[in-house]
């Protein structure tokens, strides 16, 4: 049967770009604080909601939506860390405790969104989805179709990679992030203000989640489960790339994007339900981890 492979590849690129934007913040905070933050899903949703409020309810446009959502959700991320995870970590909480706490926090944030909507109807937040009104034109490039939003998603992913690369390797804060994730006590003993480094990273990470939330929201819809719907593939990306490894995440995002989309072609060819598309991403992850528990990180490590 004919398959328009070019389009499948483009679709993969778009999926991968979105996963990349969504997973960078998670991998950085995961590496730094040493636990998987499931409430990250809610940062994505919240980003979508704030973005929707700014862009649509206030009518301030997408650029403003990105900035406000980045800041607001960034602050939420910071507060979550400061108010919950930091005190827990100080009391010697294990990775499992932190992980379960993050699931609980996610539960709280997810259900707070509609509660906010109940108290402040002007926000327009509820369980019922909201839709961005901005529409995007579609272009044809030969056999391939692309919309403006898809191009923006790809562009943002690339730009983000470049900026973060410089941030991590060339700036003091970047180095401090890496030192802190390696040995926090010793980072303190080297005169690094570890707390500040962690705060900044949590702020940044949550802010990036918000950006992903807006992209996802603009492509689909925003509702309280927006983040949860994509958190498992995002975790797959983070782990496949090697936790805390930003370069690994770039590669993994596109691998998972590709696997999901090619998976759809393969599944339908086999007469199976495309529900399994997420399963394919995970099969790749599980096999990689069993063969190489470090994920792709092994390729992105200087020796």
């Amino acid at each position: 049967m004919d398959v328009n492979w070019a389009q499948v590849l483009v679709n993969s690129l778009v999926t991968g770009s979105l996963y990349l934007i969504a997973s960078v913040g998670l991998t950085l905070t995961y590496g730094l604080s040493g636990f998987p933050n499931f409430a990250y899903a809610e940062y994505i949703s919240l980003g979508g909601f704030v973005g929707y409020f700014v862009a649509d309810e206030l009518g301030a446009g997408l650029p403003a939506a990105f900035i406000v959502a980045f800041l607001v959700v960034g602050v939420v991320g910071f507060l979550c860390y400061r108010g919950i995870f930091q005190p827990m970590a100080r009391r010697g909480a294990t990775i499992i405790h932190l992980m379960v706490a993050s699931i609980a926090l996610g539960l709280i944030l997810r259900h707070l969104i509609p509660v906010f909507g109940d108290f402040i109807p002007a926000l327009g937040w509820s369980w019922a989805p909201s839709y961005f009104t901005i529409t995007w034109v579609a272009f044809d490039f030969g056999p391939v179709r692309l919309t403006g939003l898809w191009l923006w998603t790809i562009f943002t992913a690339v730009a983000l990679s470049v900026v973060l690369h410089f941030l991590l390797t060339r700036t003091r804060i970047g180095k401090a992030i890496r030192a802190t994730s390696s040995n926090p006590d010793l980072a303190l003993a080297s005169g690094i203000d570890v707390e500040k480094v962690i705060w900044i990273t949590w702020f940044l990470g949550a802010g990036l989640a918000a950006v992903a939330g807006i992209f996802r929201g603009a492509e689909t819809q925003v509702w309280p489960m927006t983040g949860w719907e994509m958190i498992l593939p995002v975790f797959a990306v983070v782990m496949l790339g090697g936790i805390g490894n930003f370069y690994g995440a770039i590669a993994a995002a596109f691998i998972i994007g590709l696997a999901e989309n090619i998976g759809v072609v393969a599944l339908t060819a086999l007469g199976l339900s495309t529900s399994y598309r997420i399963g394919i991403a995970f099969l790749i992850l599980i096999i990689t981890l069993i063969v190489k528990p470090q994920g792709l990180a092994m390729f992105f490590r200087r020796s």
Partner: protein, 241 residues
């Protein structure tokens, strides 16, 4: 001589257990002070409490005549107090070079950092040979060298060293000993905890003996070394040996 760093009447410990009881130690610029004592007597706890890594229940820390009790650890470090912990003293997922860079995290001046790094690599050829290796793959002794080198990168005014010579073979150990003497002579204060009691006292000007969290003896290193009861209790040497 006026002490640059003094810990006065320190009561310190973990959680709500007090391990150090009313201990005072001090060190002046240009001298090496040693803390020795049996295992579990609280030497590491004492040093940690100076920088806030262990809980300080009572007592005060004076640095350059200023009270810095309760100051955030990283700020104390930035004031000029360098610290090498007894365990976990390198960044395992950073390379040797990056570890050294971290030591100079708050130093200004690219060139002086560069020469500092060069000097240190020259001092430890073992490290220079593997400067892009991850610290987690180093041998026990190589880690120890790296830990000390990292602390030196910051060019501190006071150095707190928790068993720097453990795990070192004679050659690097000698290098470090002479380096310590050298920086002492340059006017740096050094407080050292060491289980190699004899060596520590030979190296230092003054010694403190900590037993069960309290000071049991203190005095000139040479006189401690000459003290028969000290020799018997802490060096395991028979009297008159």
């Amino acid at each position: 001589m006026k002490p640059i760093l003094a810990a006065e009447n320190v009561n310190a410990g973990y959680g709500d257990v007090i391990i150090i009881h009313d201990v005072s130690v001090e060190v002046a610029s240009g001298e090496i002070a040693a803390i020795v004592g049996p295992n579990g007597s609280g030497k590491s706890t004492l040093i940690k409490s100076i920088l806030g890594f262990a809980k300080l229940f009572r007592g005060s820390i004076l640095y350059q005549n200023k009270d810095i009790t309760g100051i955030a650890s990283h700020r104390a470090v930035n004031l000029g107090i360098g610290y090498v912990p007894q365990t976990d003293n390198v960044f395992p997922n950073l390379t040797i070079i990056e570890n050294l860079d971290m030591g100079a995290y708050n130093k200004k001046g690219k060139d002086s950092i560069k020469t500092g790094k060069g000097d240190i690599l020259q001092m430890f050829p073992e490290l220079a040979a593997r400067k892009n290796a991850l610290a987690e793959n180093l041998s026990g002794g190589e880690r120890q060298m790296l830990a000390i080198a990292r602390a030196m990168m910051a060019k501190p005014k006071v150095l707190l060293l928790d068993e720097p010579l453990a795990s070192l073979s004679p050659k690097p150990s000698a290098v470090i000993e002479s380096k310590l003497e050298q920086i002492r002579d340059a006017g740096i204060a050094i407080l050292i905890v060491e289980q190699n009691v004899k060596k520590a006292l030979e190296l230092s000007n003054r010694g403190y003996v900590l037993v069960n969290g309290a000071l049991a003896m203190e005095g000139e290193s040479a006189s401690l070394l000459a003290d028969d009861s000290f020799k018997e209790r802490f060096l395991g040497l028979e009297q008159g040996h």
